[in-house]
Symmetry: C2
Subunit: 195 residues, 2 copies
């Protein structure tokens, strides 16, 4: 990897971590640049503005979640519902381990700047659509396997699911507890969505 | 009303409006003080810090929603489910009229500062609990009236509902559409929760 690519990757990784903790307006560019040893003058070799940097962080953030969920589904061998549950159980365990910190960057940034930055709003929409699409694939397979109800489309269920999960993640931050996540999974997924 | 009380009320009202649009870190105290003509030096006669001011704004913000929902329930005369729907339909119509701006201050601030300000987190928890409690009353009445399923407690349904609705409000901001709200109401309330 060239130094330029390493710097870019470092900026994105460290930026996501800070953005998760402090939000968009609470995170200064200088703080990120200092931590990854990139001089301010050369930031614009990587990104054209703080706003486009944030948009790229949004895309960078969602990537591993997409890969993880897709991998579980690919490995599920006819048990898609179990794959979805496995993904959620691991997410819940991880959030418990990190003391409910951060939650979901997509939800946090939507709350903070969803109204005010069109560039970020479009990046959020794209990231959430991609995430929703993997859930739709999972629900569609689970419908065919007979574990998820068929009176609603997989797309409808996927939209409802990602929204409800986002709400549960917000509530987790307020309650400092994974209970809202467990409830969302137990009642919406394991009860209402079940075939 | 004394001038001091008028100033305090003005600070809260204008503060809530700005906080909704710009978030906590994006809103400067000076901006609010200038707009309501309160000199910076006297701000601390009203609130001890920006953080406690935000906590009071959270409380101030939720009050009319509690009153509205409670009023609809009190007027419902044995049709609690219809009262809940009426409240939601009005909320949706209002958000459509204001071009999806803001969403819910509780959700927005949870995303932005739910992790970093204990004072605000506690205010958010209190406000959300109070809001959830009114929903619980509504669901409990609707259960007794036979319109809501009884295999889950009214408290469980109320928690699940306020969380899912928060998630739908976030998605509304991304999509710039009330579709996520309508879907949440149609599927979760009018289908899954129905007796």
């Amino acid at each position: 990897m060239k130094q330029k690519d390493i710097n870019r990757e470092n900026l994105l990784n460290y930026g996501v971590a800070l953005l998760m903790q402090q939000g968009y307006h609470g995170t200064g560019l200088q703080e990120i640049l200092d931590a990854v040893n990139v001089p301010k003058g050369s930031f614009y070799n990587y990104f054209s503005s703080k706003e486009t940097f944030a948009a790229e962080m949004i895309e960078h953030y969602i990537e591993p979640y997409l890969i993880q969920l897709q991998t579980y589904l690919n490995e599920s061998d006819g048990h898609s519902f179990t794959a979805l549950e496995r993904y959620l159980n691991e997410s819940i365990a991880e959030l418990e381990q990190t003391q409910f910190k951060g939650g979901c960057l997509l939800g946090n940034l939507t709350g903070e700047i969803g109204d005010t930055s069109d560039i970020c709003r479009e990046a959020l929409q794209k990231a959430l659509d991609r995430y929703r699409d993997v859930w739709e694939i999972g629900f569609h397979r689970a419908q065919k396997e007979g574990s998820i109800r068929k009176d609603k489309t997989a797309l409808e269920l996927a939209d409802l699911w990602v929204n409800s999960w986002q709400g549960a993640l917000l509530r987790m931050k307020i309650e400092q507890s994974v209970m809202p996540l467990k409830q969302c999974k137990e009642v919406i997924l394991n009860d209402f969505f079940k075939a």
